[in-house]
């Protein structure tokens, strides 16, 4: 064993020497044109986030000793996350990698908490540019300690290492706007014409959370003995909040949506918020989404049925995809019924409205990814009715036919006309959200062939705690905005604790991304994950039972693929 140890030490020494050789060699050959600091940071960011080198090639690495990996599959961001503060997942602790932490001596850590006292509380001295490049290449830290072998050893050339290192130095280097020595400031965006009851439900829910949290922090501050204080600190991982009061302001938007951006920029200039909580506007969320994306401000669970659908945008976390998700659910449901689709015509009737467009987009885009031909679309103008001639044409033949009715509360009229046609369609789909309160009064004669997208937990279903297997009673109220605000508060409560005093906006979103799935009354499951931006991913397909107060009968799982 001794011989093996010597050999390995020798190999490591060779590795270290070779790293130096690479440095010397590459220095000699480096002839890249002078880059601005901004350009360097952008290139460093690309290495950190995507594992792509300035020459467009993937950064190569090894994990577990001998597993070669392209950096694109094993980027820095994979484990250290976008904010660079690290993570704990699956029992693996990933330490911070922002320059502010790397260029300071690191205290010993026990279960993620710094050990501040004792003879030698330091795990390693501060990195220098040289020792940092060394540890990235060989996994050997400045005191010769070898990092866990799940940390890739990156094959960084001399001209690339400084780019990554410069980026790490800039990463989470100063607290984000909205943070002062005494406050952590949030805001909520409300348009002046938003529904007053919904506004009250949302604002009161958020304000109650803030009051409670500040009350807890106040209690910690006012404990009488050092022992009580120690106990209070030990009981809370949010002890950093002891130093900062949470505050909330309302950013009220007035006038036309075209003018919102200017108003938002002004609010942001006057009183920058660390993050935006909830939000309620009478109109599209898109202008606000764009504002948060371009200014890098997290926005958590705005109350909108019309979110921006994007695989890559970062700053807004929606509770669901809204109407789009219902169209998506219908496409997935139909796709799972292979036997139904044989020689079946699919037609969608789309009302010219935001709801109609979002529902049909959700269906069409999902349907396309499943390699189906697009459905035939019949567009209805705002007040237009489906003509008798069109109903006759649709129902003339005895053939398998599926019709999607993306229409509003008066959908019953179209559904009845189809039921009275010469041949009833095989199935008709509609959105329960777009039907609104008319959902439960759909005529009896249409209920046997009408299937409805329903993006919430069914009213008759109990909330079951997945860990305990028991029903949970929630007292949240019937107002949907109050329910969504409850989900926001649960998520926020966890996030302000988990960031552990690292008040960086990207880290705040990282912390939410790493949080456990949640059970709430309104949705079967809220789930998170790095980069996931729609927390509720399900939607039932249901039918109405008979009678005056019909039950909703499930025809699908919460999520269908």
């Amino acid at each position: 064993m001794k011989g093996l140890g010597k050999t390995l030490i020798l190999l490591s020494a060779v590795a270290a020497c070779l790293s130096l050789l690479i440095v010397c060699d590459a220095t000699a050959t480096s002839a890249s044109p002078a880059l601005s600091q901004q350009q360097k940071l952008k290139l460093g960011e690309r290495i950190y986030r995507e594992g792509i080198l300035p020459n467009g090639e993937p950064l190569m690495a090894f994990v577990k000793g001998d597993l070669p990996v392209p950096g694109t599959a094993f980027t820095c961001i994979s484990c250290h996350l976008r904010g660079g503060i690290g993570s704990i997942e699956g029992g693996v602790y990933t330490p911070p990698t922002n320059g502010k932490t790397l260029y300071q001596p690191l205290k010993k850590i026990h279960k993620g908490v710094e050990i501040k006292y004792g003879e030698d509380p330091f795990r390693r001295p501060a990195y220098t540019d040289e020792t940092l490049a060394e540890v990235l290449r060989t996994g050997t830290d400045p005191v010769g300690k070898i990092l866990d072998d799940v940390m890739p050893r990156y094959l960084l050339e001399d001209e690339d290492a400084p780019l990554l290192i410069a980026y790490l130095k800039s990463l989470s280097s100063e607290f984000s706007p909205g943070v002062t020595d005494t406050t952590l400031h949030f805001a909520t965006i409300i348009s002046e014409d938003a529904n007053p009851a919904d506004t009250e439900a949302m604002v009161s829910g958020i304000e109650k959370f803030i009051t409670d949290k500040n009350g807890m922090a106040n209690n910690y501050r006012n404990v009488r003995t050092p022992r009580d204080r120690m106990m209070a600190k030990a009981m809370s991982t949010s002890k950093e909040l002891e130093l900062r009061k949470l505050t909330l302001s309302r950013w009220i938007l007035k006038g036309a949506p075209e003018t919102w951006r200017r108003q938002l920029e002004e609010y942001n200039r006057r009183e920058p918020a660390f993050a935006l909580l909830g939000g309620l506007v009478n109109g599209d969320w898109q202008p606000i989404h764009q504002f948060t994306e371009e200014n890098g401000i997290p926005c958590i669970f705005p109350n909108t049925d019309f979110p921006v659908i994007s695989d890559t945008d970062w700053y807004t976390l929606y509770i669901s995809k809204g109407f789009y998700q219902e169209g998506e659910a219908v496409a997935r449901f139909l796709n799972s019924k292979e036997e139904l689709l044989q020689d079946t015509r699919i037609i969608q009737i789309v009302r010219a409205s935001r709801e109609g467009r979002a529902l049909s987009a959700g269906f069409e885009e999902t349907w396309k990814t499943m390699s189906h031909n697009p459905p035939l679309t019949i567009s209805l103008a705002k007040e237009e009715q489906l003509s008798d001639a069109m109903v006759s044409k649709l129902t003339a033949k005895e053939e398998p036919l599926i019709i999607l009715v993306w229409d509003g509360p008066d959908s019953g009229r179209i559904l009845t006309a189809l039921a009275n046609g010469k041949n009833k369609p095989t199935m008709v789909f509609a959105s329960s959200s777009y039907l609104g309160k008319n959902l439960m009064t759909l005529p009896e004669q249409v209920r046997d062939f009408t299937y409805l997208s329903y993006p919430y937990r069914l009213p008759q279903d109990k909330v079951i705690d997945p860990m305990m297997g028991k029903a949970i009673n929630f007292q949240v109220g019937d107002n949907r905005v109050a329910q969504q605000t409850y989900a926001l508060v649960l998520t926020l409560n966890m996030a302000v604790m988990e960031i552990k005093g690292n008040y960086y906006r990207d880290h705040f979103l990282d912390a939410i991304g790493m949080s456990m799935d949640r059970v709430v009354p309104l949705y079967e499951r809220l789930s998170f994950g790095p980069g996931q931006r729609y927390a509720s991913k399900g939607c039932y397909i249901v039918q109405l039972a008979g009678g005056e107060n019909p039950q909703l009968v499930k025809r699908s799982d919460w999520v269908t693929h």
Partner: protein, 190 residues
């Protein structure tokens, strides 16, 4: 011509760096032999096709199963790099092994996301990523003594099912590529 010299140095450094971690405490994995019977569930693969899990098990191939999810940060990338390297090391013998990854985030892991994930890990045919309803996936996790109520508290597990056998080899922990290949051979790869 300094560039080729740099490249040579990098390759040598790669080999040296690869050896260096052995100096670190090599975390051992735990290997046991278990007896499991799988539920009769139908899952969905990365192409959106329905796959009956028991049909996979009836094949004459060695089957390897792990549990991952598309946005996982730490463990899954290592498990998946292990799969892709095994395929690379096996070369033409890849078709003797059926690698299965089962999603523990089925709400998010759609066929589209799973397909992109496999592409990122340069998966070859013979590696399928399966999703499905949460209840079906829970049944599979229970059957394989791998139940994870919440994806953020998952753990590294690789299960080998030798062809025509109801015994499973259960590996708890992370393997490097040499260990993975050895275990694959021990599990009956000829």
């Amino acid at each position: 011509m300094k560039l080729p010299f740099t490249r040579i140095l990098i390759v040598v450094a790669m080999l040296a760096c690869a050896a260096a971690p052995l100096r670190a405490e090599n975390k051992p994995y735990k290997r046991t032999v278990e007896s499991y019977s799988l539920p009769d569930v139908t899952l969905i693969n990365q192409d959106g096709k329905k796959v009956r899990l028991q049909s996979i098990m009836q094949s004459d191939k060695l089957v390897v199963v792990d549990f991952i999810f598309g946005t996982c940060t730490t463990i899954c990338p290592i498990l998946s790099v292990g799969y892709s390297n095994l395929q690379r090391k096996l070369g033409p013998d890849t078709n003797k092994v059926h690698l299965i990854s089962i999603s523990i985030d089925p709400e998010h892991d759609t066929p589209k996301i799973m397909k992109e994930y496999l592409k990122r890990y340069q998966a070859k045919p013979g590696w399928d990523f399966l999703t499905g309803s949460r209840s079906d996936i829970n049944k599979v996790m229970y059957a394989l003594n791998a139940y994870i109520p919440n994806k953020m508290s998952h753990y590294p597990l690789t299960l080998f099912r030798p062809a025509g056998n109801n015994k499973w080899i259960r590996i708890f922990g992370l393997m490097n590529s040499t260990e993975f290949l050895e275990e694959t051979k021990k599990a009956g790869l000829k």
